[in-house]
Amino acid sequence: MTYDAIVVGSGACGGWAAMQLTQAGMKVLMLEAGSRVDPVKDFKHEFLYEMDYRGQGKPGMMRRYAGSERNYRIMLDNQENPYTTSPETVYRWGRSRVLGGRTLHWARATDRMADYEFKAASRDGYGMDWAVTYAAMKPYYDRVEGFIGVSGAMEGFLQFPDGVFLPAMPLNCAEAIFTAASKSLGWPTTHRRLAQLTRVHNGRPPCHYCGNCVNGCDVGAMFSTVSTTLPPALKTGNLEVRTDTVVARIRMNRENRAQGVTYIERYTKKSIDVDAKYVILAASTLENTRLMLLSEKAGLANSSGTLGHYMMDQVGGGGVTGFLPKLKGGPARLDDGKSAGITIPNFQNIDKKTARKDFIRGYVMNATGGQTEFPQYAASLPGYGSAWKKEVKSRYVAQARVWIAGGEMLAQKENFVELDPEVKDAWGIPVLKIHFSHSDNDRKLLADFQEKAEELFRKAGGEVMPDAPRGGPVGFPGAPGSPDAGPSPAGRGQRQPRRQTLGGSIHEVGTARMSTSPKEGVLNSFCQTHDIPNLFVFGGNAFPSTGDKHPTLTMMALTARGCDRLLELAKGKKA
C-alpha cells in the first residue's frame, strides 16, 4: 500500500501534521520510535513518600533514563539511544521517545515570535532573516492557538504579540510581588502564556492545578499530541499509528522524490519498507537532520551544504534563587499547582532606541515563588534542631526564583551535527555527534540577564541565595544533587536555575535552515526541502535564528503552514 503521507514522529509537529492531513482526507501512516503510554498507569499523581526511592529511582537507575522516577517512561532510554559530542562541546540533548514525544512533559510556554526576531539580521547585520514574516505567520499562530488552547493576557507588547487566549491563570503571592517590582522598573510584564486550559476547550477539561505537568497531565488539560491532536486524527479513520518503529532512512526513487522510509521494529529488529506520496519528518529537530544525513552520503536535500550546520539552542542556565521576606512565616498555600509564573518579555535590542552596544539580541525572563514540593534550600540553612526546623518552615512559602526563559543564541556554522563514524544505537544506526559551543555574545547576554534578574530580586525586596543548593549530598546516587539525579526532586515544577552557567534550554533548532535561495538553506518557507519536492521537515530545523521565545508554537505554526502547502500541491494547485 502507498500512503498519501508518512509522518515520522508524534510530537507537537507530527501530531499536528497527522491531524491536518487526515482531516483533509489523506491516508496517513504515523511512525513513532517509542511506545504508547498507558494514561492511567503512567500519568497518576504520586507523592514522593509513596515511592520507595522518593522519586529518584533505585541508585544508578537514572543514569540509564532521562527524567525522573516519575516520568522516565515518557522520556528516553539513554542506553538504546546514545549520542556523542566533540571534546569542546558541553551539551545535554534532552529527548523523548514515546507516543506524543516531548508534548507529554513540555513546559507549555506558548509565545509568538515577533518581526524583530524574524527580521533580526536586517536590523543588526548578523546572520540571516527568516523567509517568513509575522504577517505570514499570524493566521497560523491564530489557528494553532485557537485549537490547542492557550491561557494568557492581552497586553499589546509589539515584541511579544498577543494571541487567541483563554483566561490567564491567577498569580500567586510571589508572582504578584515580582509583577509589581518589574512594572516599577518599567519592564513589560505579563502572565506566562501556557498551552494549559483554564476552562473547558474543545472537549478537554480545565487544569485542576495539581502541578504534575512534567509527569504527563492525567486529564489532558495541557496540550499534548495524545490529548489534543491525535484523537481528532484517529476519528477520521484515515490515520494508522505504528509505535516502536525506529525509522532508519528515507528511500528515494529515480525521479528525485522520496519513495518512502525504512523502519526497524524496535523489539524484533525486523526491517520494513513503507511507501508514500509525501514524507514528513517530524521526529524532533536533530533526529530529523540525523535521518537526512543517514539517507544519502552527503546528506539528503543538501545541495546548499548547510545540512547539519547552524545548530542552536536558546541560552539557558542563568537564574537567581532566594526568598521574599514579605512572605516569610505565612500560611501554606497552593503555589506550585500551575507550574507557571510571570513573563518579562525582552525589552532590549528590539529597535534603535533600545539597542545595546555590548551585545545583540535578547532574552525573556520568568519569575515565580512560594511553596514547592521539596525545600531545596533546607540542607544548606545553617544549624539544626527545632530552631532550624522553624526556619525551614518560615522560608517554605517565601521561596522565590527568577530564571531565563529563553535567550537568543547566535547561529554559527561551526556548531553542527554529523554522523558518528563509530557509535551506533541499539538498532545499528549511526548516532549523531554534536559540535556545539557558545559565542562571546551568548555569554554577554547571559551576564546581562543575571544583572537584571538580581535587580528584579532586589526591587522585590528579595534575599538572594548565593550558589543556590540543589539539596542532597553530592555523591549519594539517587538523591537530588547527585550526578545521576534529575534536575529537581522527581522532575516537578521548574528546573533549579544555576548562576552564570551557560546551558541549553532543550530548545534545539536549526541544522536545516529555511532560506529564500536554495543555495543558502535546506528548506523553503513552507519547510519543504528545496531539493526534494515531496519531502517536508517540521520541527525546529527551519529556524535561521532562535529568537527569544519558546519555539514550540512557531514550530507548530510552521507545520500548519507547510501542511497547507502540501495539500495545495497534492491537489495540483501549486507546481
Binding site: F43, C210, D335
Partner: protein
C-alpha cells in the same frame, strides 16, 4: 483507540482527596540491612538531634535513619564507603557510647567547626536526613503542610493588596 478511551476515562474518574495518601508501608517494620546495630542506633540518634520531635514530628516519626539505610543498601560501593567512614569518625569521637548530653555536645561542635574531625559526617547526615525528612509524609504534609498534588477547582489568586505594590 483503546488507550485513548482509557485516557479519557481517567479524566472522568480522576480523584484527588483533600487528604494526602498514607505513607508507603516500606519503612514501618523495616530492619536495617546496611548498618550494623550499633551504627544504626548511632545514626538514628544523630538524625533525631538534627530534626527533633517538638511541637511537630521529627526524624524519628519520619523513619529517616531507616530510609537512609534502605537507600545505602542499594548504593554503589563508593557511596557505602563514604557512609562507613562517617560512622567510623563518629565512633572514634565517642558518639556511639556517649550519653544524650555528650551526643548533643558533639553535634553542636561539628556544626560549629568545619575543621572538626566529624564535620564531614555531620554534613553528610544532615543533607541526607533533610532529604529523608522532607520527602516523607511526616515532613512534607504534617510539618510543611504541602498543598500540591491535589485536585482544585481554581488556583488561589493572591488577594493581598500589599503584594501588588512595591
Amino acid at each position: 483507540m483503546q488507550f485513548l478511551s482509557v485516557w479519557l476515562r481517567a479524566a472522568q474518574d480522576h480523584q484527588h482527596g483533600p487528604a494526602a495518601p498514607p505513607e508507603s508501608p516500606l519503612l514501618r517494620n523495616y530492619r536495617p540491612k546496611f548498618f550494623d546495630a550499633a551504627d544504626f542506633a548511632a545514626l538514628q540518634a544523630f538524625t533525631e538531634i538534627l530534626i527533633p520531635t517538638d511541637d511537630t514530628p521529627g526524624a524519628r516519626e519520619a523513619h529517616c535513619a531507616h530510609f537512609i539505610d534502605f537507600v545505602l543498601d542499594a548504593s554503589p560501593q563508593a557511596t557505602q564507603k563514604q557512609w562507613r567512614d562517617a560512622m567510623t569518625a563518629l565512633r572514634t569521637a565517642g558518639f556511639h557510647t556517649g550519653d544524650a548530653t555528650a551526643r548533643a555536645a558533639l553535634v553542636e561542635a561539628t556544626d560549629r567547626s568545619a575543621s572538626h574531625p566529624c564535620h564531614a559526617a555531620y554534613r553528610l547526615i544532615k543533607q541526607q536526613n533533610t532529604f529523608a525528612f522532607y520527602t516523607s509524609r511526616t515532613g512534607m504534609i504534617e510539618t510543611l503542610d504541602y498543598r500540591g498534588n491535589s485536585y482544585n477547582d481554581a488556583f488561589p489568586a493572591c488577594n493581598h493588596p500589599e503584594h501588588h505594590k512595591v
